[in-house]
């Protein structure tokens, strides 16, 4: 009964008119921020910090506003993934794979509603998981050392090959390019710069938001210019919103599996939402009976990553609150907000500041309900932003992309780099090289390398250390299985017929 008492205390804090108003406006602003390419949850939350403090809000109100924006952006990221094939933020990357083909088949509305429901399932269940298990789950983070993390990332890369249904060599090439880009910057173990050409701006490596916006949004602009605005994919019409009951029912198990995978990826501080949605997608691809039609507009391919990334967002709050370890860029910003409010997350936060924790949890639950309403019946509102004619929309995207990227570090180098990535993306599209593996290489490569190097320092160069725990061995087995299985399956199942 402690739980209910705590929760009702939390709702008492969160359910006032002013906080509800903040939750609604936070969800609204967050959804828009998330749906705009280049503005993700982390800069969405970051740019609202000065506003929150200048409004003179108290600790709970600030938290309600910030988490509403955070969750809103996680929901919103899918909108441009589905309609424009441009991920609104990095965890929404995987949603482009099936969401956009669905939209091209005239099922954009279905994809949006389905992904909205999946987001809700993922986020809601994850919040409940956070509520029930947070102090216990913190221990999971202790179990993961360098060798376990390395095996986890290896698993991700081993399943990458299955991502490109057409040409695995091109996918491998693309992920190698991504890994190479990930190496740019100060080497964390020796402190020496690599591949920076003496440029201070490259010392911290390439920000993956710069890469995403360049590869997806800027290259789209180049394609648009080249075709003189005729042959562009952008500008998908949205039909009447109906509830695709059949898809939702069919994807029920998918959502639950995606939620589970995403939540656990979120709990691990080194993994986060991007890995969560990736593993949820790849897991579902191998588990679902119709997994071979993933990438061609399978509704399950939309449900899995959306449940996964929203669950990961909830999971990422676990190490942030209980250990003070931010699992993602956004939780790092939230951590900063907490510290500024003189709330120090750590093992004792749940006991010392229950009103903060339970207020936060209650506001997360409220935000989720608000977002479900906003993102299913009212999704048209947000689609309006993106469904204006391409010759109006693309300059807008260019503006937001440049503004958003500049706001990251306030440096013009990032803008130049973004344009370079735009050119790379343009040529990749022309050559049929998938850009998703490039992003994943950049996103995950650094962590994988760092953990391998740490493992080697700890063990003094002894490779057997990588297999020194049950978790690590299990992950290795899964990784090898994930790499080898498709090679055999490919021969057994002939080329999948795209579903029409």
């Amino acid at each position: 009964m402690d739980l209910l008492a705590n929760l009702s205390q939390g709702f008492a804090v969160a359910l006032t008119w002013s906080t509800l108003l903040l939750a609604v406006s936070g969800c609204f602003a967050g959804t828009i921020i998330g749906s705009l390419p280049g503005l993700g949850p982390s800069n969405g939350v970051a740019i609202l910090i000065p506003l929150a403090f200048s409004l003179g809000l108290d600790a709970t109100e600030v938290l309600v506003l910030m988490t509403s924006v955070y969750y809103g952006a996680m929901y919103g990221g899918r909108i441009s993934s589905i309609l424009l094939n441009i991920p609104g933020d990095e965890p929404a990357l995987m949603t482009t794979l099936d969401g956009y083909p669905m939209a091209k088949q005239g099922r954009a509305a279905d994809a949006l509603v389905l992904s909205g429901v999946s987001s809700f399932v993922g986020a809601f269940l994850a919040t409940i998981g956070l509520m029930l298990l947070a102090p216990l789950l913190a221990n999971v983070a202790y179990l993961f050392g360098p060798s376990e993390y390395f095996a986890l990332y290896l698993l991700a890369f081993c399943t990458l090959g299955g991502l490109a249904s057409k040409n695995q060599i091109k996918a491998a090439l693309a992920s190698a390019v991504g890994l190479g880009i990930a190496m740019i910057g100060l080497d964390n173990q020796t402190g020496l710069p690599r591949l920076t050409f003496g440029e201070l701006a490259l010392m911290d490596g390439v920000d993956f938001l710069v890469a995403i916006v360049g590869l997806f949004a800027v290259s789209e602009i180049f394609i648009f210019i080249e075709s003189h605005g005729k042959n562009t994919a952008i500008g998908i019409k949205l039909d009447k919103i109906t509830i695709p009951v059949k898809d939702i029912v069919n994807s029920g198990v998918t959502m639950l599996r995606g939620t589970l995978i995403g939540f656990f990826a979120g709990i691990l501080p080194g993994a986060g939402a991007s890995l969560g949605s990736f593993l949820a997608y790849m897991g579902e691809k191998s588990l679902a009976k119709d997994g071979n039609t993933f990438g061609t507009g399978n509704p399950k391919g939309v449900a899995a990553p959306e449940a996964g990334n929203n669950a990961a967002a909830g999971g990422a709050l676990v190490p942030m609150l209980t250990l003070g370890v931010p699992g993602s860029g956004t939780t790092a910003v939230l951590l900063a907000v907490l510290l500024t409010l003189n709330i120090t997350p750590g093992p004792l936060l749940f006991e010392e500041r229950p009103e903060v924790v339970w207020g936060l949890i209650a506001s997360l639950l409220i935000a989720n309900v608000v977002l479900l309403i906003m993102n299913v019946p009212l999704v048209r509102l947000f689609v309006k932003v993106l469904s204006v004619p391409p010759h109006v929309l693309l300059p807008g995207i260019a503006m937001v992309a440049f503004g958003g990227i500049y706001s990251l570090s306030g440096s013009s180098h990032d803008l130049v780099l973004m344009i370079v990535f735009g050119l790379v993306g343009y040529f990749c599209r022309k050559l049929g090289v998938p850009t998703v593996p490039i992003i994943l290489g950049i996103l995950l490569g650094n962590n994988m390398e760092d953990n391998l190097r740490r493992a080697m320092i700890i063990s003094g160069g002894d490779w057997t250390y990588l297999f020194s725990s049950g978790i690590a061995i299990g992950l290795w087995v899964a990784a090898i299985g994930g790499f080898v299985a498709p090679l055999f399956l490919r021969n057994l199942l002939k080329k999948p017929k795209p579903k029409i």
Binding site: Y142, G145, P146, D204, A336
Partner: protein, 321 residues
């Protein structure tokens, strides 16, 4: 749907407009939100405004890159006479300047304003660790350097790493390359790895370990200050245990080089007011900072000494030539 497009227009304007909040003074935190520099900007900026030392709220800009080098270069090259700018700094700033890690830029290319608090350095082990005190830990390294891996929140050659080597140097162990150190993404990450048993000890600052100390997950074997810290009287200093080392991570600010003397004095005065305020005393207590106030010339003199020391040491241990 007429109504909705208006709404969208308005929210668009909201999203685009939020980034700029008037033309107040700016504090650059040369790192992403969440770290010490970010705390410095936000806490000092907020208190300066709250106690009336400045008229407008201070805007915080995060400019991560090159371990603070990007912001340093930005200030030196583009904002060299901006009187409305302050930048967060700490021991790490001095360490990197001493090690030529800011692409050859020197400490005298900005004006250091002052430090108004310090995070004492600590060595921490998990509560079930066999190492009960500082000498246990250092002896273990001296007997078999492969038996102990230190985890810290900064890269190799950073202040967390140097502290371990300095402490070992004090007890006569100078085979610095044999000491195993892994750099993680922040102190909390390093402590998580140590509690999980993946590394044997964590080197960091006391603010990074407070939560874990209170929950009983870790034991602090030594704090590198002259005296025991108020509020943490149970933690023995390294000096008491025969290791004569004082290593603190001071928190402070620098300003651009070519601002007017009036502007410099205005900021120095505002910083001194913060240092003397009750709000700052509370913020220090909440974050495990110990009082450490040096403003203006006093600070610059102290800093020159520190940089010379780190430079000397970095050469001895081979981090720089």
């Amino acid at each position: 749907m007429k109504f909705s497009s208006k709404l969208i227009g308005a929210s668009f304007a909201l999203v685009m407009g939020i980034g700029t909040v008037g033309n107040s003074a700016e504090c650059i935190a040369p790192a992403n939100p969440g770290g010490g520099w970010d705390f410095t900007c936000r806490a000092i900026g907020k208190i300066m405004y709250d106690i009336g030392a400045v008229d407008e709220p201070i805007k915080v800009t995060n400019m991560a890159g090159g371990g603070g080098g990007l912001a340093y270069g930005h200030v030196v090259n583009e904002r060299n006479d901006d009187g409305d700018l302050i930048v967060a700094a700490s021991s790490a700033t001095a360490t990197r300047l001493a090690q030529n890690a800011y692409a050859g830029m020197m400490a005298d290319q900005v004006s250091f304003l002052g430090a108004i608090g310090a995070d004492p350095g600590v060595l921490v082990v998990a509560s079930d660790s066999p190492y009960m005190n500082l000498m246990d830990l250092l002896n273990a390294v001296m007997n078999d350097p492969t038996s102990v891996t230190f985890a810290g929140g900064s890269a190799t050659g950073g202040f967390d790493h140097l502290k371990v080597l300095m402490a070992l140097g004090e007890v006569g162990y100078d085979d610095v390359l044999s000491v195993k150190y892994v750099g993680l993404d922040g102190g909390a990450d390093a402590i998580t790895q140590t509690i999980g048993g993946h590394t044997q000890a964590m080197t960091g600052d006391i603010s990074e370990v407070v939560g874990f100390l209170k929950s009983g997950d870790v034991r602090v074997v030594a704090v590198f200050t002259d005296e025991r810290i108020p509020g943490f009287e149970d933690i023995p200093t390294a000096k008491e245990q025969g290791v004569d080392l004082v290593a603190v991570n001071w928190r402070g600010l620098y300003v651009p080089k070519d601002i007017s003397e009036a502007d410099y004095n205005k900021w120095a005065d505002a910083l001194a007011q913060v240092a003397a305020s009750d709000e700052w005393a509370q913020a220090m207590a909440d974050n495990g900072l110990a009082p450490f106030t040096k403003v203006g010339d006093d600070f610059q003199e102290y800093l020159a000494g520190v940089i010379a020391d780190v430079q000397q040491l970095s050469k001895e241990i081979g981090v720089i030539q």
